[in-house]
């Protein structure tokens, strides 16, 4: 029996370890100095790398991201709302906190792609130009700096 367990143990360990996921988590780096792990941490990072159900973050999010006031600065969009609408017209709004972070819990909103997103602050609304087809973290595409393969951060206003 012990021989069987000795043979199976490496397989069990290997089955529980996902090096690709682990690398993605490690690539996000450590917490910013002075910022506790919580709703205000890691603005602009792809939230569901850790909060996507494979850990290490908890709770699990259906979709999440960070919004900023303008394209030209990293001032967070505080007190705004990010709206999602699916093809059936089902909508869900997520409030942005002091870091601009927003999220929907895994049971808050059933994702049905494609999704159409908007950012709103006190009646000022900007629609996302293209639908979201599969990404559950805005930062999968919206990464700074803008470039040939990245859109730059999510923002409300094009100007300052």
């Amino acid at each position: 029996m012990r021989h069987i367990l000795a043979l199976l143990a490496p397989l069990i360990v290997a089955a529980c370890f996902d090096p690709v996921h682990s690398d993605r988590v490690d690539a996000l780096g450590p917490e910013a100095p002075g910022v506790r792990r919580g709703p205000l941490h890691r603005p602009g990072q792809p939230c569901t790398v850790c909060h996507g159900g494979d850990g290490p973050g908890s709770p699990t999010f259906a979709i999440a991201g960070t919004a900023y006031e303008s394209r030209d600065s990293l001032g967070p969009l505080v007190g705004g709302v990010v709206w999602l609408v699916d093809e059936q017209g089902r909508s869900y709004g997520m409030s942005t906190n002091e870091a601009g972070n927003f999220w929907a819990g895994e049971n808050d909103f059933t994702l049905s792609f494609p999704l159409f997103a908007s950012v709103e602050l006190e009646g000022e609304v900007v629609d996302m130009v293209t639908p979201i087809f599969r990404a559950r973290s805005c930062a999968e595409c919206h990464v700074d700096p803008p470039g040939p393969g990245s859109l730059g951060h999510v923002f409300l206003r094009a100007g300052p």
Binding site: P114, T130, P131, F133, P146, G147, P148, G149
Partner: protein, 178 residues
């Protein structure tokens, strides 16, 4: 020239040379190429624009790691100086060329048969099956059978491109929230 040394520090260059010579003997005659029928590159732009809109977002086929890699103004850019999602941006001719290449090199043998059959049974192509949602596809049914996007692709394969279908297939109606 690559020089190899074995554990004793002796050059293995003769082994490398012999291996290269044997490989050269088994290569096809110089200049001989396989010929596959493909849809024309001329007039591909509406199809390219459809692929951008339906498939080429940065979270899908607008990624360099994809075998079907799609470039365009709102997704992945071919030129490192171009910005994704730039207001008023235009998809460049080279990006249309790259999209064409992406499509025709996916399954050249099957594409050859579909084109020689005037586009009949296009579902032989993985591109069509996945776009229709007839095969497991994380992106779902990007262009269901009979939709404008599907008509665009299949008409292009048949050699009678339906430009209007390609144009309407690019449009996503933002649904009214309920």
């Amino acid at each position: 020239m690559i020089f190899c040394f074995n554990a004793h520090g002796k050059s293995a260059a003769p082994v490398v040379a012999l291996t290269l010579m044997l490989g050269a003997c088994s290569a096809p005659p110089s200049g001989e190429r396989s010929k596959f029928a493909v849809p024309p590159r001329e007039g591909f732009e509406p199809v390219s624009d459809l692929l951008q809109a339906r498939c080429g977002s940065l979270d899908c086929h607008g990624q360099t790691g994809r075998s079907l890699r799609i470039y365009g103004t709102n997704g992945l850019r071919l030129d490192s100086k171009d910005l994704s999602g730039l207001d008023g941006g235009v998809t460049q001719a080279a990006e249309h060329d790259a999209n064409y290449a992406s499509v025709v090199i996916l399954e050249p043998e099957i594409l050859d048969r579909v084109v020689r059959d005037a586009g009949r049974n296009p579902e032989r192509l993985t591109l069509i099956r996945k776009a229709r949602g007839a095969e497991v596809h994380v992106g779902g049914s990007a262009s269901p059978a009979g939709s404008a996007g599907d008509v665009c692709l299949t008409s292009w394969l048949a050699g009678v491109l339906d430009v209007a279908a390609c144009q309407s297939g690019q449009v996503f109606e933002r649904p009214a929230p309920r």
